[in-house]
């Protein structure tokens, strides 16, 4: 009972620590990777909003609409990246969001210059586009690298945790197997002991039934019911011996 109780406690503790380790992965690297993918998507939307300004912002209303949407996306990207830069723990990745922010600031400045040209030149998208063409590539590449690094980290940590779980499972199976073997051994030993003593009891009983007490030795001891029957049989054997010893008249 004590061993089984200990094993159950060990299982609960192991399960709890296993859950904690998986939670740490989920709350750390997995959340970072999710945030990075959101920023990556928002940045692509920001670039798309810029293209909308150039292609569809030919009247003041549309220009105002697409400019607002562009700045919204731009703000989202910056805010989310700043948050991520503060939460990422991995030193290999920690500096990349800041590098991206610097590249994004540079791109924003280029967008602003191109926007001024676009408005000044009466919606001449070719002149504006010329000023920013290809400039979204460095921050895009940089952030693709952030996402790839974070994804790789998640994969590595998950694989390591999975391997650790398998290792613990193997140890647990070995312990449970050993306990089962030990339990079976104890059970068989007790069962064989009981069967052996019952066989002795039957032998004594058979001899008493025939009043065959010559050289009968009753050696069935113990503090259980079989021992008590053995003790009673000693009395019966003594009574039969006495009966045989009483001279008949």
């Amino acid at each position: 009972m004590v061993i089984v109780g200990g094993l159950v406690t060990l299982l609960i503790v192991e399960l709890k620590s296993e859950t904690t380790r998986y939670n740490n992965i989920l709350q750390g690297p997995v959340q970072d990777a999710d945030a990075a993918r959101r920023i990556q998507l928002d940045f692509k939307k920001q670039v798309q909003e810029w293209k909308d300004i150039l292609l569809r912002g030919h009247n003041p209303d549309d220009l105002a609409k697409y400019t607002r949407q562009f700045h919204e996306q731009e703000g989202n990207v910056k805010t989310e990246t700043q948050t991520m830069a503060g939460t990422v723990q991995d030193p290999a990745i920690k500096l990349l969001p800041n590098d991206f922010l610097a590249a994004d600031d540079k791109l924003s400045a280029s967008y602003q210059s191109a926007y001024c040209v676009y408005v000044k030149e009466k919606f001449d998208f070719k002149s504006a586009d010329k000023l920013v063409r290809g400039q979204d590539r460095p921050p895009t590449d940089l952030f693709d690298k952030v996402v790839a690094e974070l994804n790789a980290r998640v994969v590595t940590l998950t694989a390591a945790q999975h391997a650790a779980t398998l290792r613990q499972l193997k140890i647990l199976l070995i312990v449970v197997g050993a306990l089962l073997v030990l339990d079976s051994y104890v059970y068989c030993s007790v069962l064989l002991g009981v069967l052996r003593r019952l066989a002795q009891l039957k032998g004594v009983s058979d001899r008493l039934a025939r009043a065959d007490i010559e050289g009968l030795s009753i050696d069935i001891s113990g503090n259980d019911e079989i021992g008590e029957i053995g003790e009673s049989m000693k009395g019966v054997a003594a009574a039969i011996e006495e009966l045989l010893a009483i001279p008949s008249h």
Binding site: G235, V236, A238, A239, E241, E242, A245
Partner: protein, 59 residues
């Protein structure tokens, strides 16, 4: 050897008959044959005397 013990069985035989001797043997788990082979130790004598008391009370 167990002279006193053996004599106890004979006394019980006279007093209570063969049934009494059998009951004495059953209570002590010792027959008169075995009792004759045992020592007349205080423990053995006490065991037999207690059984005899029990038999007498039973009557």
């Amino acid at each position: 050897m167990g002279i006193k013990l053996k004599s106890r069985y004979e006394e019980v035989g006279k007093e209570l008959g063969p049934q009494g001797r059998m009951k004495l043997a059953m209570l002590t788990k010792i027959s008169s044959v075995k009792a004759a082979e045992l020592e007349d130790s205080p423990e053995n004598l006490r065991l037999v005397d207690e059984a005899i008391d029990q038999l007498r009370k039973g009557l």
